[in-house]
Symmetry: C2
Subunit: 354 residues, 2 copies
């Protein structure tokens, strides 16, 4: 797969057309799987890892799913290309920074992906636009079944699927929903949400997973545990909680609009104005301003901007994407200029298409 | 004269086409004159002031100058209209806030004006775009001569023209040049300029004269004394100093451009972006951003904006102008919205006329 071709498109999950897309950016489910004949990756040597890759690639060649998964050898990629895949949410930082034989298989629309030799031998992932836990589950269950026709996964009758880290034992499922919560952040209600979620064992993370900051008011909500709950129970738990957060965020947005419409209009419009005019801009400021503009689009305070454009800009203004688009290595100051140029160009084009 | 008609035009001095208009906004000369048969206004009662007005209006009706001066009775104007004339630099705050019979006679292009019953019985004023001390002097000398055909001014063989305040005795002349000095402000070199000017007895003031803050990096430089120097000497002194300040400001602009072109481009472009997108904006922020944009226009960092538009916006975004344009009394919050709407409208229209 030619990575450069990916710069010309964006994953289907970025379309911004899925259910509840005013608050829910995307839904993701991943499954941790290990091939029973090999030790966990905490104990594999280079040659074993290479054999794992070979076996997975063999399965990929003959996988009974409607889409083709193309394999990318991550160990052969340079820093920028690896970072590029991280920014597209197709691989984890761990896989990017790992060593030895490893890779990722990706469907053309970037909905399905399979990391090979991350913490576990396989990490299956399905991404969807908006809130779509059951759709993601159907697809990943199908993908899992397809692999099981070719591979024997480590499975224990009592514990379930065995994984390198005990937190994933059982179903090996992590279901997460990416939410955009600018109103809860601005009204400082977000802390209440965090506390409630922790109490019921749901985790909250920033845009790029574990340890990453919640840039641009994006929060990932996911299950903490995989043992003792069936996949259905995990999904039901999320499905029952998410609507309450959406409702909370929406009511906060409406309250902001009713109590301070003009100030809010001014704020989102200025954010849009700066994004359209800056000549140098950091990633952090970009995320902050895009978040404000996204809120403005949903509250009809900005009417000449497509949500898909905004969602794409979140990804395309990331460091590796900027460098891929420019076909050049750029230092931080150069990236800030390239980012501003991209924003001006894309947002000016958008306004002209009214 | 219908004040509302003035809202549809702007004074010739705002064209931004005069000499040295990259730094010099306007040149102004005023002469203080008193009619010998009346006491100074510190000692006039209402009926005397009314007689002064009557005599001046009589002279106005028959004045041998190429333009017509139309009289406005300031004592009959409401707060907004008086403030409107202050913002257009046609009357002083003192005349606006004074009591009793008083007024101003204005030529159609707002170049000539004559305040009646300010501190002195007459204050003649000529305004020009850019740096034009000799042009202003010719016009005001002509205006002064024309009045002297009808009025006898208080004059003392030894002291010269007599005035209510001793600082104006002698020639009664005040010549001032309005400079835009954003680079000297940003590089903090402006204090050096102030000190040098004070040493040679030139005064520095903000946009609206004595006591007013230097908003938007505008500074008025004028002579301090009227006694002991001829009119020509006053003008020569200013004429010799101003080019050095212009040179200093221009070199600072070039240095900023060479040392930090990108940061400067970013700054002026963001300022322009905010002015085009804000939905509420204070007068202070407007002046600050317009100053940045003005610098950008002169350094060719902004290319779709006419200087005359910028100069007009400085005046039209002032409180009384906004209220006159809207035909309504507006409180501070309403003015901030009206100001933002005016800026968006005017600057969007400008960009479309590329």
């Amino acid at each position: 797969m030619d990575l450069d071709s990916l710069t010309q498109q964006s994953g289907d999950w970025l379309r911004g057309t899925g259910p509840e897309s005013d608050v829910v950016v995307s839904t993701r489910i991943r499954l941790a799987r290990n091939i029973s004949e090999f030790p966990f990756n905490t104990r594999t040597d280079d040659s074993t890892r290479a054999r794992i890759v070979k076996q997975v690639r063999g399965a990929l060649d003959d996988l009974a799913i409607p889409t083709v998964l193309q394999y990318i050898d991550v160990s052969e990629l340079g820093d920028t290309d690896r970072q590029f895949l991280v920014e597209r949410q197709l691989i984890s930082r761990e896989l990017s920074e790992g060593e030895g034989a490893r890779g990722v298989a990706i469907s053309k629309n970037e909905v399905e992906s399979v990391m090979v030799n991350e913490e576990d031998h396989l990490r299956l992932q399905v991404l969807a636009s908006g809130l779509d836990l059951s759709g993601c589950w159907q697809r990943i269950d199908q993908l899992d079944d397809a692999f099981e026709e070719h591979l024997t996964f480590a499975f224990h009758d009592h514990y379930g699927y065995l994984t390198a880290c005990p937190t994933n034992v059982g179903t090996g499922i992590r279901a997460s929903v990416m939410l955009h919560l600018p109103a809860l952040v601005q009204t400082r209600e977000i802390q209440k949400v965090f506390h409630s979620l922790q109490k019921i064992n749901l985790a909250v993370r920033g845009l790029y997973g574990e340890g990453s900051q919640a840039m641009g008011d994006f929060y990932q909500i996911s299950n903490q545990y995989t043992l003792g709950l069936s996949e259905t129970q995990v999904l039901e738990k999320l499905s029952s909680v998410i609507p309450r957060i959406l409702d909370y965020e929406r009511r906060s947005r409406q309250a902001m609009l009713e109590e301070n419409r003009e100030e809010l209009h001014d704020q989102v419009s200025r954010s849009y104005g700066i994004l359209k005019s800056a000549h140098t801009i950091s990633s952090e400021e970009t995320m902050h301003l895009l978040s404000s503009v996204r809120l403005g689009v949903y509250l009809n305070l900005i009417d000449d901007l497509e949500l898909s454009t905004l969602n794409e800009l979140y990804i395309q203004t990331q460091p590796a994407h900027l460098q891929k688009l420019r076909h050049a290595e750029l230092d931080s100051a150069e990236r800030n200029k390239a980012r501003a140029a991209l924003l001006r160009q894309r947002l000016a084009a958008e306004s002209e298409n009214d």
